[in-house]
């Protein structure tokens, strides 16, 4: 079984939010909510400033605190792709996973269950990329099997400099940012 991950080149991301719109359209995300979003970070003082634009979402961590805290097992690691998914029918809406997620990647759907990025599970099972990856105009987003040394994501992580969000949380996130 693959172990999916995402690599995002922050040097190419222009913050156009096409990924956000594509996700909302593809997954019927209700108005006012989002499964992915754009973050702009500035560091330093003028004139030595650094800017990073990132497309963020659920990190589908290898060690997901949202899964270990879910009282009913609704949040779980899916066998296919080792992605973190929520079974709507088992979710009681206790919000424990939202409080546990260091990345703020989850929200309460108006219907009461917890929703988040699925890495477009319905598309990846068909061999397609997630909607956000497929629409990115600068091709800064890459998706694939991290366990496959021949995949594009593995190649990028071997050859490029990257970081992840809050690695000190010990969650082992699987969305990587090239810097």
């Amino acid at each position: 079984m693959p172990r999916f991950g995402m690599v995002i080149d922050t040097r190419k991301c222009v913050g156009c939010m096409d990924c956000v719109v594509a996700c909302q359209t593809e997954n019927d995300v209700p108005n006012g909510y989002c499964r992915d979003w754009i973050t702009t970070e500035v560091r330093g003082d003028y004139p030595t400033l650094a800017l990073e634009i990132r497309s963020e979402r659920c990190n589908h961590c290898d060690n997901p605190p949202c899964v270990s805290c879910c009282p009913t097992g609704a949040s779980h690691v899916e066998e296919f792709g080792k992605t973190v998914q929520v079974t709507k029918e088992k979710c009681i809406g206790c919000k424990a996973c939202i409080a546990s997620c260091p990345y703020g990647a989850r929200y309460v759907h108006p219907k009461g269950y917890i929703d988040k990025c699925t890495f477009c599970d319905h598309r990846t099972r068909e061999g397609l990329d997630p909607a956000c990856v497929s629409v990115c105009p600068t091709h800064c987003m890459h998706f694939g099997d991290l366990d496959d040394p021949k995949s594009k994501v593995s190649e990028l992580l071997r050859t490029e400099k990257y970081h992840t969000i809050m690695p000190e949380a010990g969650t082992k996130p699987r969305v990587f940012y090239l810097i």
């Binding site: 939010m17 956000v20 989002c34 979003w37 754009i38 973050t39 702009t40 970070e41 500035v42 560091r43 990073e52 963020e56 605190p65 899964v67 270990s68 805290c69 879910c70 009282p71 009913t72 097992g73 609704a74 029918e89 088992k90 979710c91 009681i92 809406g93 206790c94 919000k95 424990a96 939202i98 409080a99 546990s100 997620c101 260091p102 990345y103 703020g104 989850r106 929200y107 309460v108 759907h109 108006p110 219907k111 009461g112 269950y113 917890i114 969000i165 809050m166 949380a169 010990g170 969650t171």
Partner: protein
């Protein structure tokens, strides 16, 4: 049949109080219905502050439920016979508060109709699932314990069940504190001190609830606490209050010792708007130091001072919980230290929270349910101490409390 251990049936206040409790519970249920139909969007809760005012009420009720069993535990576990007549009332209050707290928690769920899922699917790595077991276990143990207290044939088992309930309530409060302590994503909570802190706070909050409930029932049913017991409970409340203040101070000092936590501590204790105000004025001054003064000042002793101290303890409890639960979530996650963050998802921003009416009503509904259960309980079953040990005059109580 000796009816002295029942609440008096001829009191004109009884039905009025039952109606008030039922109305409060009904209003809470209607508020929960509104939140269910309209969604959480009608509450002040958001993606960062996911636990709001209802959780302040719920955690208070659950933690106090554990502590209110003090009187029964002292009687059964530590063999202090003077407390034993009040053990059934202590147990009843525990069940009532637990019920009220769980009602609020349940009705605040995004999908409360799926409670059966929580009861049939357990993820044993989840501290929330542990607490589901701890709460149900507490119900069963305290109900069994009450049975042994009220049914003569089962009284030989009262000691064993009392001990089990005592241990269980310590574990339960540890579990409630651990809900917060295990949250990797909220830097305000990540400390093992929360478990003992919750235990100590539960002891003071529960004892305060017991003293107020006993005083109300005394006014209604003329069953005053003996002066000696008053004096002991006064000292105990003071001890628990001081313990809570000490552990809270240690918690904040430990956190502030870590340089990366300084900004958070400054937010919680100095710059955070309502949260420092609630902490210092609500919890430390009004809910901690003033009750201590009322309990131990040579000129302030007496039953009224004891009740005032209990009331202030409860006010301090709500102030502390609000500052702890809401303030702790309001502080943003420091995803990349040193970066100025701007995003379409409110990263890096201090979250704002304004409680809305349905949340307040749901919380009050939990209090109403606990009140109603207690009221009906003392009416239909002999939870009150029999008339014989009620020994004293108001003057004697005053003298003893001093």
């Amino acid at each position: 049949m000796d009816r002295s251990a029942y609440a008096r049936r001829d009191s004109p206040w009884f039905w009025l109080l039952v109606a008030a409790g039922a109305l409060l519970t009904l209003v809470g249920l209607l508020a929960a219905h509104a939140m269910e139909v309209e969604g959480h969007v009608i509450t002040g809760m958001n993606n960062q502050i996911v636990w709001g005012l209802p959780h302040v009420f719920a955690i208070f009720l659950i933690v106090a439920a554990s502590g209110v069993l003090n009187v029964a535990s002292i009687g059964s576990v530590f063999g202090q016979a003077a407390y034993k007549p009040w053990a059934p009332l202590s147990g009843l209050l525990c069940l009532a508060l637990l019920l009220g707290g769980l009602l609020v928690l349940l009705l605040d769920l995004g999908r409360p109709e799926r409670l059966v899922v929580a009861a049939t699917h357990y993820n044993f790595t989840s501290v929330f699932a542990w607490n589901v077991l701890l709460y149900s276990g507490m119900f069963a143990l305290v109900a069994g314990y009450l049975w042994t207290l009220l049914e003569r044939r089962w009284q030989p088992y009262a000691g064993a069940l009392g001990l089990a309930a005592f241990v269980w309530r310590l574990v339960l409060t540890t579990g409630t504190g651990s809900i917060f302590a295990f949250l990797v994503a909220r830097s305000a909570y990540g400390t093992a001190l929360l478990a003992p802190l919750f235990i100590v706070l539960s002891l003071s909050w529960g004892l305060a609830v017991f003293l107020l409930a006993q005083a109300a029932l005394d006014a209604w049913n003329h069953r005053p606490l003996p002066p000696d017991l008053c004096r002991r409970l006064r000292r105990l409340l003071g001890l628990f209050l001081a313990g809570g203040l000490l552990l809270t101070a240690v918690q904040h000092l430990t956190s502030a010792y870590f340089a990366r936590q300084l900004a958070l501590e400054r937010f919680l204790l100095q710059d955070g708007g309502p949260y420092p105000l609630l902490f210092w004025l609500g919890y430390v001054a009004l809910g901690g130091l003033l009750p201590l003064l009322l309990l131990f000042h040579p000129r302030a002793g007496g039953p009224r001072a004891l009740l005032a101290a209990a009331l202030l303890t409860l006010a301090g409890a709500f102030a502390w919980l609000y500052a702890f639960i809401i303030g702790g979530q309001a502080w943003p996650l420091d995803i990349f230290p040193g970066y100025a963050v701007r995003s379409s998802f409110a990263d890096g921003a201090i979250a704002t929270y304004t409680p809305r009416l349905p949340e307040l009503l749901l919380g009050l509904g939990g209090l109403g349910a606990a009140f109603l259960v207690t009221l009906v309980g003392v009416r239909v079953l002999p939870f009150l101490p029999p008339a014989e040990p009620a020994p004293t005059t108001p003057a004697a109580v005053t003298a003893a409390a001093k």
